[in-house]
């Protein structure tokens, strides 16, 4: 029975099933007493299939985003049933958005989805987000990472501003800050005191995995990359 349900979950995540159908199956798994960690592992493997197909060019961004949403809904059901020792399966918490003055979202959406596929709990705060709003959201979500996207050079000062505000508010140690986007170079990331820099969405996932595994505290003495 449990194996049948687990396969149903996998099929729902990689196939055409709706978010509601995925939630229903996840609830059935919980009610059937299936180990939540096992269910998360099956779900994660399914979503990584989608991620791999996207990387190969067999699937496109909408497919990835839909799968990401389904995964978020699935995890919302399963996460409360994970035992304390299963923490690593739950991934870290990331607050993600595009900074002030910038409404470009495709890069942010791609990173957010890849992080979700990778098992992270992502709160997407949207585009054109003022620096303080990132910090508020990070506090509310008890985030591990604040991830800042920018596609416009004139928006880069707002990535710096988030770090400046964290320092001024005495919160710098609480959150890792990672940056990315078209004009965001490694040198710039270093100059503003970011903890990490990623060149693309796949690198962003590797970077977040590294940050969570490092066991270190923010701010990092040296910029981390994937």
């Amino acid at each position: 029975m449990s194996e049948v349900l687990l396969q149903k979950l996998r099929a729902a995540l990689v196939g055409e099933a709706s978010e509601e159908e995925v939630v229903e199956i996840a609830e059935q798994l919980v009610n059937a007493g299936v180990d939540a960690l096992r269910a998360v592992e099956v779900a994660s493997a399914a979503i990584r299939e989608i991620g791999d197909a996207f990387e190969c060019g067999d699937l496109y961004l909408p497919d990835l985003m839909i799968a990401g949403r389904k995964m978020e809904r699935c995890m919302a059901v399963l996460r409360p049933h994970l035992k304390v020792g299963d923490k690593s399966a739950a991934g870290g918490r990331v607050v993600l958005g595009t900074v002030s003055g910038d409404i470009h979202d495709i890069g942010k959406n791609l990173v957010g989805t890849m992080l979700t596929v990778g098992g992270f709990n992502v709160t997407d705060v949207g585009v054109n987000v003022p620096p303080l709003e990132f910090i508020k959201a990070a506090k509310e979500q008890r985030a591990d990472v604040i991830a800042l996207s920018a596609l416009m050079t004139a928006s880069l000062p707002y990535q710096r501003e988030v770090i400046t505000l964290l320092n001024e508010l005495g919160l710098r140690e609480k959150f890792f800050v990672i940056v990315g986007g078209g004009p965001v170079t490694m040198d710039f990331a270093q100059s503003i005191g970011a903890d990490g820099w990623a060149e693309n969405a796949a690198s962003a996932l590797k970077l977040c995995d590294k940050l969570m595994a490092a066991g270190a505290k923010a701010p990092l003495p040296q910029l981390m990359t994937a």
Partner: protein, 463 residues
């Protein structure tokens, strides 16, 4: 020329009364499903032919156009601020295209340039607009723009983009952006004077991530001049608009004689799908931009997400089909942007420019803006030399047959396509140019000479 008030008010009304749609639903359902529907209906799936990156199938281009028109009618433009869709009927879109001019001018005096609709394989030289809005420091701006304006192939100036205004970092959406709108105009005019090319038309405003730069710089005393200079309205993907863009449009109306550039792009691998989907989306979006913004210039062009450029095979194919479809089925003055990934002082930038600009020249583009040196990633990474090279290719390939262009493309692509996505860093303007004499370094000049010689040997008429 100006913006018609009745059409403007129609757009603003519909931005507040059109059907509601959440952005996620737009991106993951409306766009991909509608694009797929018309790709299927018109038999356009799997038509991308990477072995022949410059399309020669006119029937295919026409089918893409018809599919694009249908898609434009069904999809409309999503206003991100109101979450409502601005829709147009088929008749309105066709009327909007009809109202767009088949030719217009920018600039004044002896530097005034005429943009004309071009047919395929048209010998009429296209118009070269440079540079793109690549970030530069204040000390570099004047010598760089003077150097670019001295390039005879350049007809109009767009960028670059200023990192600072009066020594202070420009912050998008802040009063600093308002200040830089006018400041950039002043610097541009000074650079044109130093180059002896006063009167060149300008695209406004390179340093304007939001509407504030345009409000601060266009139509104000000492700023960009309506009727002579044109305002950029660049819509985000896919088929979206916003108050920020509509502010610019309303401002152009207020200026009386303002001109509008309507541009966007579609990502291969993004919301619209693969190269065929991006092609269809570009066409649909272009039709909507000309209708909604009353554009006289512009278009939507494809971009490959894999390497963030459009000089690889699939993107070249898509680019060619988009502009061929527009050329054959409208009379608009379509403009593309070529997105290179290579940097100054690398051969990659020149190879990409050779093939990409040739494609646009033979595919009916009226004008092109570029180069996107180093993919726009690094400050000060743009020089007059690659701009000269790209302009030479663009103008001298006008009138070439697409068959010949395709043959040349297939000879040149193997020289660089493996490097796409792995571009070497190269050098910035201060490193590979003498900023006083405005001459390139020997090393950079030698690369230019070498690549130019190679493309001539491949059949390009640059001699």
């Amino acid at each position: 020329m100006g913006v018609d008030r009745q059409r403007l008010m129609t757009v603003l009304d519909r931005a507040h009364t059109g059907p509601v749609c959440e952005t996620f639903d737009w991106d993951t359902r409306v766009i991909p499903q509608t694009i797929k529907k018309y790709l299927d209906r018109y038999g356009l799936q799997k038509t991308c032919d990477p072995a022949n990156p410059i399309n020669q199938d006119d029937g295919l281009a026409d089918r893409f156009f018809q599919a694009g028109l249908d898609a434009a009618v069904e999809i409309g433009l999503l206003c991100l601020d109101t979450h409502r869709v601005i829709k147009f009927s088929r008749e309105e879109i066709l009327a909007g295209l009809d109202a767009a001019p088949a030719q217009f001018t920018l600039g004044e005096g002896k530097e005034q340039v005429t943009f004309k609709h071009r047919n395929l394989d048209d010998p009429t030289p296209p118009v070269w607009v440079s540079p793109l809005s690549i970030a530069v420091t204040e000390d570099v701006f004047l010598p760089l723009v003077e150097g670019i304006a001295r390039v005879p192939e350049v007809d109009c100036i767009e960028g670059p983009s200023l990192e600072t205004v009066y020594g202070h970092k420009v912050r998008a959406g802040s009063p600093l952006e308002l200040l830089v709108g006018k400041y950039q105009a002043e610097l541009n005019y000074e650079a044109l004077k130093r180059a002896g090319r006063e009167g060149m038309g300008l695209y406004a405003v390179g340093t304007s991530p939001t509407h504030y730069g345009v409000l601060g710089g266009y139509g104000v005393p000492g700023g960009y001049k309506p009727g002579r200079d044109i305002v950029l309205l660049l819509s985000p993907v896919e088929m979206k608009t916003s108050y920020e863009l509509l502010h610019r449009l309303a401002h152009v109306y207020n200026c009386g004689d303002g001109l509008v550039y309507g541009g966007s792009w579609s990502m291969i691998g993004g919301y619209a799908g693969g190269p065929e989907g991006a092609t269809l989306s570009c066409i649909a979006c272009t039709l909507l931009l000309y209708t909604a913004y009353q554009a006289v210039n512009g278009a939507s062009f494809p971009y490959d997400m894999k390497y963030m450029g459009n000089c690889g095979r699939k993107a070249l194919w898509a680019l060619g089909v988009v502009f061929q479809a527009l050329s054959r089925n409208t009379h608009i003055c379509a403009n593309s942007v070529l997105n290179q990934t290579g940097s100054p002082a690398t051969e990659l930038l020149l190879w990409e420019s050779a093939v990409g600009m040739m494609n646009l020249a033979v595919s009916g583009a009226t004008s092109c803006t570029g180069t996107r040196s180093a993919g726009g990633k690094y400050t000060n990474f743009v020089t007059p030399l690659e701009i000269k090279f790209a302009g030479e290719v663009f103008k001298k390939c006008a009138g070439m047959s697409r068959a010949k262009a395709n043959d040349i493309a297939n000879k040149l692509l193997p020289r660089y396509e493996e490097q796409l996505g792995k571009a070497p860093k190269g050098q910035g303007f201060p490193e590979c140019y003498d900023m006083k004499t405005l001459t390139p370094s020997d090393e950079w000049r030698k690369m230019y000479d070498y690549v130019k010689n190679e493309v001539i040997k491949a059949g390009m008429p640059l001699d």
